[in-house]
Symmetry: C2
Subunit: 347 residues, 2 copies
Amino acid sequence: MQEVRTAGEVRQKRVTIVDVAQHAGVSTASASKVLRNAYGVSESMRERVQASMDALGYRPHRPARGMRGRTFTIGMMVSDIDNPFFSLIADGISSVLRQRDYELLISPGGYEAASQNAVVDALIDHQMDGLILVAPVVGGDDLDRIAREIPLVIVGRHSHSEVLDSVSGDDERGSELVVDHLVGLGHGRIGFVTNHQDRVEPDRPESARLAGFLKAMASRGLADDAVVIDSRWSLEGGRNAVAMVDSLETPLTAVFAGADVTALGIMSELWEQRRAVPATYSLVGYDNSRISSIGPIGLTTVDQSGFEMGETAGRLLLERIEGRVDASHVLLRPQLVARTTTAPPER
Amino acid sequence: MQEVRTAGEVRQKRVTIVDVAQHAGVSTASASKVLRNAYGVSESMRERVQASMDALGYRPHRPARGMRGRTFTIGMMVSDIDNPFFSLIADGISSVLRQRDYELLISPGGYEAASQNAVVDALIDHQMDGLILVAPVVGGDDLDRIAREIPLVIVGRHSHSEVLDSVSGDDERGSELVVDHLVGLGHGRIGFVTNHQDRVEPDRPESARLAGFLKAMASRGLADDAVVIDSRWSLEGGRNAVAMVDSLETPLTAVFAGADVTALGIMSELWEQRRAVPATYSLVGYDNSRISSIGPIGLTTVDQSGFEMGETAGRLLLERIEGRVDASHVLLRPQLVARTTTAPPER
DNA sequence: TTGAAAGCGCTAACAG
DNA sequence: CTGTTAGCGCTTTCAA
């Protein structure tokens, strides 16, 4: 029997820049310059070195690069990778980075500030060239502190910080679109399901969507018909919201769930109780996640163009890395996607 | 106005092991040993150094560690992060790594062998200590080659390789469970939607599930009633499968979609045609993704216990890194989850 | 334009 | 048990 061992086997050594330099008959410094597209190399030098790199199949060792210069790696923190919206953002980022030979590495940070901070530290320890944090729950001061250590872009959270960039949807506007849609259908008494915050941070999407909802209702003379249901933006939170809505003295004709996942929880709970949507009440989500378009779901929701957000975030981060110092905060226009969970009220 | 500049500002230098050693009044070698929990350090030394590390808030620089030894980082490649099943696997892996101070970094590799290979190379270039590839489309030879470079575990794909470990669900058994369920309900003529492979690789889940389906049908005397529908495991593939099923001469009473996402595509298409499930035909998926449990969907499917897969993969990889040389291939038992998309045939 | 040499933060071999 | 020192692969002065 042939022995095929891994640990015992002598793994062939990596091709290093020294090998390339020797093969091309030049100094490592010159090879390095070619690798980095740096100034001060003749055309012939560039060609020779490039040929050697190709011939030897040279791939730069990232940790070694990181010791002195850049790693050409960008870190992305998300709470949980299982979020279709994050996936779109990641695709958008990748599409920008790819053209510039940067690489994207993703790390799930959970839903607690403590665990997210730990993940951010770890990404910094990897000597990444920049970080993109998606909907971080970390406090604003912490974000500024991080931004002073490393180029930083946050996605999905409004910001006015001077030291970092941000890309987010115009959540206030998004809520307004929803209210317009529902009022247009004839609804008056509308509920909004919140994502409970122990310590309210005004720059978080949940705050902006709630504010937008209240403002839009008020400006249409429906301030007294705006009902806030304090729950959580999760499947479970949606399920629980159903009972809360039922316990209201005056019933609702429409519920704006604040997020698709919450709307799905509500749908699921209602379905189990054999109550139909939109017959029971109209239902609106937020995010336009892929599930929402599936036939039997057909959730009316708000699209945030995640891919474009990712592209923008990637572009901003590269600009930061190249040295831009003034902050840039981009707000993207949301769009309402009307499907089958909204209809005129029954009465 | 106060100037708050990032790039211009002098960023404070990192705390290095030299700082720790100085603070504790010992050599860097000793500090390093404490950091690595290496042998040959007195209790008092350990305490002093540890105290200094805590006092200075020392965090080891991963690239530097990677230059000589381990980075304590594991890379995970997935085709696309937007897959609830992958999320479960990642959680499982993380739960194991966390106890051992390893970190998990995830990289989306797309659906092509070429792009996946590029991502794997990039992870190797980062000097990661080991890799976990989820359902790679890369050829078996390539996997062996990779495994000779770096400790490797593949998830969701059967393997008999001597140089790498694998964890997967028993897909043949899973298909058998589905056939049993459907036949138990009274179905005879059953369709199976495949994920088309240009070059059939027998160790891929799509091959195993198809084989299991055909075998189970045959062993129940239904070989002639087993219909194979060649499509793709995607939302679109599911949608297209509907027309293919409709064009069959003898109609089906049940469709085993091979994967949840395919089943969702079928559901969606049928729904748009105002045809009900399971009235049109019973429908079964595979994966038990989170969506499948949502009320209005209620998809009958097969659970693969992704979290456990992740745990196992993490454990196997750490063992490899510690030096295990004989391959380990784990097969996990799948379970049928019956919901509302399956029922006895109408006739 | 090119090359020699120092050094990034850490580990490992070896000496004391 | 502890310290000295070389060196990982690369970038970056600085000199030629």
